[in-house]
Amino acid sequence: MKIGVFVCHCGSNIEGTVDTAAVARASMLFPEVSHAEDVMYSCSEPGQEAIIDAVRTHGLDGVVVASCTPRMHEPTFRRAVERAGLNRYMLEMANIREHVSWIGKDRTANTNKAADLVRIAVEKLRRNRPLTPKSFDITRRVLVIGGGVAGIQAALDCADGGMEVVLVERTSSIGGKMAKLDKTFPTVDCSSCILGPKMVDVAQHPNITLYAYAEVEEVAGYVGNFNVKIRKKASYVDWVKCTGCGACMEKCPSKKSLDRFNESLGGAPAINIPFPQAIPKKAVIDAGYCRQFIKGKCGVCAKICPTGAIDYKMQDEVVEEKVGAIVAATGFDLFDHSKYGEYGGGRYPDVITALQYERLLSASGPTGGHVKRPSDGKEPKTVVFIQCVGSRDKSVDRPYCSGFCCMYTAKQAILTKDHIPDSQSYVFYMDIRAPGKMYDEFTRRAMEEYGARYVRGRVSMIVPQNGKYLVRGADTLMGSQLEVEADLVVLAVGAEAAVGSPQLAEKLRISYDKYGYFMESHPKLRPVETNTAGVYLAGCAQGPKDIPSSVAQGSASAAKVLGLFSKQKLESDPQISQVNLQRCVGCGKCETTCPFGAIHMIDFRGQEKAEVIETVCQGCGICAVTCPQGAIQLEHFTDNQILAEVEALCQF
């Protein structure tokens, strides 16, 4: 075997702390290495050409590229060696950037380590063999999880592209957080007027199947062929019969259920349609508050319902769907502001969250668009907005900027002046972050045209006083203390990952960060893809975002899905397990340990043997460790290959 080694400078990224020429010289002494050179940028066009040239001129059988992480450029170099006429699996990479040059400053130690990593790669490559992928059919259907604006956009774009879409929404209506907003920044246009038509499109689109009040229970399979189990939660109302007339809501004697759509401002009947524009417009019984469920007698809604849709005995139902791709757009939740004890959130009735204030401003809200204090229903004249509640604050474990709070606060300050012309708004802020198109102009308008007084500083505490709230804070630009007598305090609470995000990520087998946001495959170049093929991200599930970015990501993930589905067949990864039938004794241990059910027992000439179902095998190699005979081996990561790497590190 003739091996070529290419040591990349990566400009000064590697060359700065690794003597790449020395690494290349050292590589020449490794077994079967017949060519070694250092290249400036191996991933660039000339760099790849250099590799291809060397393969052709020196007749190389395998290539080691020592450069950045294989998670970045392995596909690039695999394509390059393929262009040179080799099998794409005759390539190994040594990660001398992320694992060497970027983490150590000692040039000698780094050069040593880099050469060792090349040696590991060479030893592995010597035992590589060409692998050929097989192709398989794909199911051209997509599952979108989450019916907020990002999920709606992704679903509509996929459906318009001719794909069948299954949209799963946890609550009883799609619309997400955007449906709760009164106006949107920086155009101050009506949120439900721009979202409403899209929601109707979802309901009417022939290609979209909507499961509202449902959750994804289980995801099995792989890109192109996922099997998804969806739990349709019991709504106790037959949605086929329910017309959404709302008669049940009017007559329901219990009004104590949480009005989730109005952010718990006021109560809601135990049988409820969340809002007039809900899609689907169907009622759901909240069993925790329904007298029929608590006391066993009531049944008013069943009597009143003109279509006889009420069914108190309804059970959860699990449906199965086959899809080829998944878009996770599960959105965000609001930070629990009661963690800031000094603001009195949760204790003082007139200290509310921005989303609650949004409902107070909204004409479809609990007050019909008249801004009233929750405590006594009076119109507030002085409104204090406090920014960064649960954003950019390490003390509550939310060090990140939620990104949209500055803007919605400016919007609410403007709307306050519109609603109550003789009012005065104060905004306590840390920094104003308004980087979007027309955003900075918008915040300036709040200050200059609408007279909102922006105070740079934190609020230290809020004390109730004579029916008002004394807000004490610092004005750090003036260098003085400031006290404001407020009628209403609005907290600009930050975003956090939606409840249950980590659990969903585990079902989807994608990564999530320590705050529960789903991780993209690459923060810059693969922003809507995940490390699990066929699973894409959109909206705030990936991190806090405003509406334009969420919509853009929804469309981006739809484009990715359509791109995936544009292929006739997908290629399977050949790095899967293979059974050596001579060695296999048919003990069945691999069958029981495989997490994917990819191994089954077959009858081979009268003997029981294990067989790997190639399209189901994901290539984890758990079976290879389990097999007492060493009969099952993971291609490209065989025992011999890994042991060769170990030996390369230990043997002298």
């Binding site: 991780m519 490390n531 890994i642 230990c650 002298f652």
Partner: protein
């Protein structure tokens, strides 16, 4: 680097591709400085790591072995790290029986986003191995640690440890 201080020991790391290898990458991207003793072998899943690989490395003269995978319940392959945990826990108990110091082997969980945690894991494990010193197996069999560079005729002066 306080740990390195002119001498380097040999630590073999087995990292799963999805979480910990990614975490090590994240640490690199974040330029979180680490000791250079560790050499990483990439495997698809921590469930792919045969405990015998660890034994092989330690018997071969490695001064320490570090295994890292995805956090429990966060495995790309659903349950690979649970298999790894069970196997490696058994191995941990067996190392003294094999005459190997248990402190030379450690397994941990680092996710792809935890660059800082990876830096901490590498630094503290390397410190632990330096406290234990060079592997007694190496001394017993008269093995001298060389590096790829020191195999070179003119590279000998770079040889560490």
């Amino acid at each position: 680097m306080p740990v390195l201080a002119g001498r380097e020991l040999r630590i073999v790391g087995f990292l799963c591709n999805w979480c910990s290898y990614g975490g090590a990458d994240t640490a690199g991207v974040g330029r979180f400085t680490q000791p250079t003793d560790l050499r990483i072998i990439r495997v698809p899943c921590s469930g792919r790591i045969d405990p015998l690989f660890v034994v092989k490395a330690l018997l071969g003269g490695a001064d320490g072995v570090l295994v890292s995978g995805c956090h429990p319940r966060d495995c790309h392959y659903a349950s690979g790290n649970f298999y790894a945990r069970r196997r490696l826990e058994v191995l941990k108990g067996m190392l003294p029986i094999l005459g190997l110091e248990p402190g030379r082997f450690e397994y941990t969980w680092v996710s792809a986003s935890e660059g800082q945690r990876w830096q901490h894991v590498v630094t503290s494990f390397t410190e632990q191995i330096h406290t234990l010193g060079p592997s007694p197996i190496k001394t017993a069999f008269g093995l001298g640690m060389t590096t790829a560079m020191s195999a070179m005729p003119e590279g000998g002066k770079h040889a560490a440890a």
